[in-house]
Symmetry: C2
């Protein structure tokens, strides 16, 4: 199998005016209702597991269509109603002025005592974060498009030209460091792409190994290091590189329930952010390793580790890795035969295998044999 | 106070030959002892609190001169003796070949069954990590100089030219992302420096705020985002920028015991890595905020948070923030009058204040008033 850049599937264009329009339309609706003596309300898609499902058609974890209605003239709703309007006004200002704020800044900026009362608008960030998520769901707009930035984590390395504002640079000419992915990637463009695919790597240490071995150059790929669970910025970047730039996505994580979950989040979306799967997930992504089969295939028995936690057949079990494995066995998006096989093998053997365990062969092994061989022969999991 | 680049104090040059020489000298000593029928040994500086002290002269946390002797022909020492030799051989290979390995790779690469026995060289990474630390102490050489890379975290942004291998680029021309600091910065050079000082920032969100407000450009400084506790790479980078490039270092963290500890690690070194203080710490660093005094000075009473944990006068206390505060009050390197004042105020008021709480004033406030004012007027803590 030779990986090649494909024809792009869509072209994303971030338009702040559209976001402003949506905010204003909603605000006008509220204002009109108030003026005409009605009880103003918002319709907010319900959060939580019971409004989340796996959509076989799009192969994504998605949000259902249950709504809850939030009224202004309702003692139980009034506080959240006020908070929603405060944050809408704040976001409007951010987007109009071209400024960005973190979730925490958005909280602090809008925390104040309501004049004439002893009531604070927000007592804690745990009050403002969910309102911002509600707005994402209500407006169908990413938080990042509303200029609320997510935590940043992760970096990229490889032969593509990135345009960020007035700056343009090649991400393979930044030494061993690579480019730190910012919290918001909506505004980033890729004027030149000279790679065939994207290899997403869980650990920084492994990404650095591959960079040292010149893997990106030899295999003509881009490395994205997630440094653990992929941040929103990184997931969005992967999504855009696939859909807008046509790049195949290959994911490389540890062979344990946590690593596999990182993969599934990139591919299917997550339960918490089900309403964003269409913008953050990449269902065409494929998985190269580590798998349970690798242990036998490459004689790695000596460098496996025991699963953490208590097995299901022991008192107090299942906990830890075992619990997570059993959850994954039951998720609708892990029902492929091949994944069921890996998950069951892990349970049966009671072991996990790390990316870096491949160093037991030699430092070069992962870059010169393991990855090129598995990718060339198409030994990838769906 | 106008911050300006000063005359460099030293010039660091990383010489792999020196590291190889030290390894070989030690290995020859062992070999000679074995050949002449003596019992070969290593002298390892003792680890732990009782061999750590605060050196008033260098203003650093330092390692004392206690040694423990590790013999080959001693049942209690033989395993560690073997492990030390295995890792010395491995490091020699890495440095000779110009390759780098992570701690985890070093563990996996050297884990195998000793021929003719059922004994593994290493059972767990918790066996190999301390040996590598022992080698750092014994040889007086950084792990990074031995090509064992540390975890990477943090990024930099500002008008300096970085040379990393064959690549040369300006760290203010990388869009909003900035340059991801690699695990090892020994090989990095700075052919051009156009900034007056370095502002070290605890949170990525605050660093991004300052970048958006064009603070680095307006104030002519470099931003280093530590993203929590500073990684070894970032600490080493700060040290080198100060000593080799003459840049003053200003640190900006949350106003809480964790933020202040981040500062003290950058300035004084840490207890765990006391033997590396001279290479990682920067005793000339100064602290700009947040302080308890800032709360009154800038009317931030409304956006403080309660300290976490149980106060010392309550049952079960002190825990959490309170415990950490009391530890800091007692550390010899927190005995400056001004620091004692801040720590006591925090205890008295029972509050902490975050960097991002400044957003309560306005998003621009931190970049246009708070920082420039405090730095101009020299309102810095030692």
């Amino acid at each position: 199998m030779k990986l090649k850049r494909q024809k792009p599937k869509e072209k994303f264009s971030y338009d702040p005016q559209k976001v402003l329009k949506k905010l204003e339309d909603l605000a006008w609706k509220i204002l009109e209702e108030a003026k005409s003596g009605k009880n103003p309300y918002f319709d907010v898609p319900t959060r939580g597991l019971n409004n989340v499902y796996f959509d076989e058609e799009s192969r994504l974890i998605r949000l259902g269509d249950r709504l809850s209605r939030r009224y202004f003239l309702n003692v139980a709703h009034a506080r959240k109603f006020m908070q929603t309007l405060i944050l809408m006004a704040y976001i409007k200002r951010l987007v109009s002025e071209g400024k960005h704020a973190s979730l925490r800044e958005a909280y602090y900026a809008n925390k104040h005592t309501v004049p004439g009362t002893r009531e604070n608008t927000f007592e804690d960030q745990s009050e403002s974060d969910p309102i911002i998520e509600d707005l994402e769901r209500m407006l169908g707009v990413l938080r990042e498009e509303m200029h609320i930035t997510a935590d940043r984590r992760g970096y990229i390395y490889g032969d593509i030209v990135i345009k960020d504002g007035e700056d343009e640079f090649n991400a393979s000419k930044l030494g061993t460091g690579g480019w730190a992915v910012p919290g918001t990637v909506e505004h980033i463009q890729f004027p030149e792409i000279n790679v065939d695919y994207v290899l997403v790597v869980e650990t920084a240490a492994m990404a650095d190994r591959l960079i040292e071995e010149k893997y990106p150059k030899r295999e003509n790929c881009l490395i994205v290091a997630t440094q653990g669970q992929a941040s929103r910025g990184v997931r969005r970047l992967i999504h855009r590189l696939h859909y807008e730039e046509g790049l195949p996505i290959i994911v490389f994580t540890d062979g344990d329930p946590y690593g596999w979950y990182i993969y599934s989040t990139i591919k299917r979306g997550s339960i918490n952010l089900a309403y964003l799967s269409e913008k953050l997930a990449t269902p065409d992504a494929k998985f190269v390793g580590m798998t349970m089969d690798d242990i036998k295939e490459y004689n790695l028995e000596n460098v496996t580790e025991k699963l953490k936690g208590i097995p299901p057949d022991k008192k107090g079990g299942p906990t830890g890795d075992y619990k997570r494995l059993i959850e994954e066995l039951n998720y609708p998006w892990f029902q492929d035969k091949e994944w069921q096989r890996q998950l069951k093998l892990a349970l049966k053997w009671g072991v996990r295998i790390e990316q870096q365990a491949l160093a037991n062969k030699s430092l070069e092994f992962v870059a010169k044999e393991y990855l090129p061989e598995k990718i060339r022969e198409g030994k990838l999991l769906p």
